[in-house]
Symmetry: C2
Subunit: 157 residues, 2 copies
DNA sequence: GTCGCTGCAAAGTCTTTGCAGAGAG
DNA sequence: CTCTCTGCAAAGACTTTGCAGCGAC
């Protein structure tokens, strides 16, 4: 019998599905589905980078120059998406906030202190341990984030 | 034979020692030891809180109203201390940056999303695992941070 | 049509910087 | 004495907000 890797299926969320979820979310809160909102979601989906609001804004301006999307709308939409747990933000030292689509499987980050690049990883053992620690300390855990800082292969030269 | 718990000794760094380290650091870089710098270090030492620059500034103004320490000096000194690895900064979502004395034993954080309080913990298993992951991915790890978000006991009511 | 959304610019935060006088070495 | 530090206020960076017209429903 063929075994389906459901985990993989969970992880690779189609844009179509994402869009459906987004529309449902908007409808539920009597919010409107606008071109700007779609473009922001789509641009985030098609970029596997961890984007700053400014970087996202630039990408959108390049790809859809006629839209003249304002940076304020990018901020407003990111807040909306973050409140709804569709995107997650990461903040590092002085480098400001970066956003990533949160619909992907949970993962942690390895951050290169030289070039700023981010590598993702998941470790089951750590995940389990975190839950255990929260339980032991009477904490009702809702989320977590972990970053390892150092030099990536390239920057070790 | 009596066994000394060196771990405990490492952890409980005396203020006197801290001050010596600080002075050595300053001398090494041809920087001056000023009252403001001492007061900032001392206030951080006597507060087990994780402080924002603003909170630290307030504490200092209350305790040493005659000094009229400027917020700019607080920022400048925190940067200096952070560059020298004497303090560490944590950044969360929108809540800005908080600083803590880094001379303490390494630890991670449980952050209450309701009241903002921070609880510290250390878990050997996670620490080891982090090193292993960095190694496996060809990363030269220099530091890491981990935060668990959720509701603390008080805020679960 | 209504009411939320958008871009723009103005206003807020938080942090850094320039400067002239104060003070450590 | 010299050269760094400091407080102040001004400047910066990043983010949010007010508003009038636009556009989804």
């Amino acid at each position: 019998m063929p075994k389906v890797n459901t985990n993989f299926n969970d992880r690779t969320i189609e844009y179509k599905q994402l869009l459906i979820d987004f529309k449902a979310l908007l409808k539920k809160n009597t919010l409107k589905f606008t071109i700007q909102r779609e473009v922001i979601l789509e641009t985030m989906y098609n970029s596997d980078e961890h984007l700053t609001p400014e970087a996202l804004h630039h990408l959108i301006q390049e790809k859809y120059p006629d839209l003249k999307t304002g940076i304020a709308t990018v901020y407003r939409t990111l807040s909306l998406l973050e409140d709804s747990n569709m995107v997650t933000s990461l903040s590092f030292g002085a480098q400001g906030k970066k956003y990533e689509l949160g619909a992907k499987e949970h993962h942690d980050h390895l951050i290169c202190t030289e070039c700023g690049n981010i590598t993702e990883f998941v470790d089951e053992q750590i995940e389990k341990r975190q839950h255990k620690i929260a339980d032991e300390l009477g904490f009702k855990m809702s989320d977590h984030s972990m970053q390892i800082y150092g030099l990536c292969k390239n920057c070790q030269k």
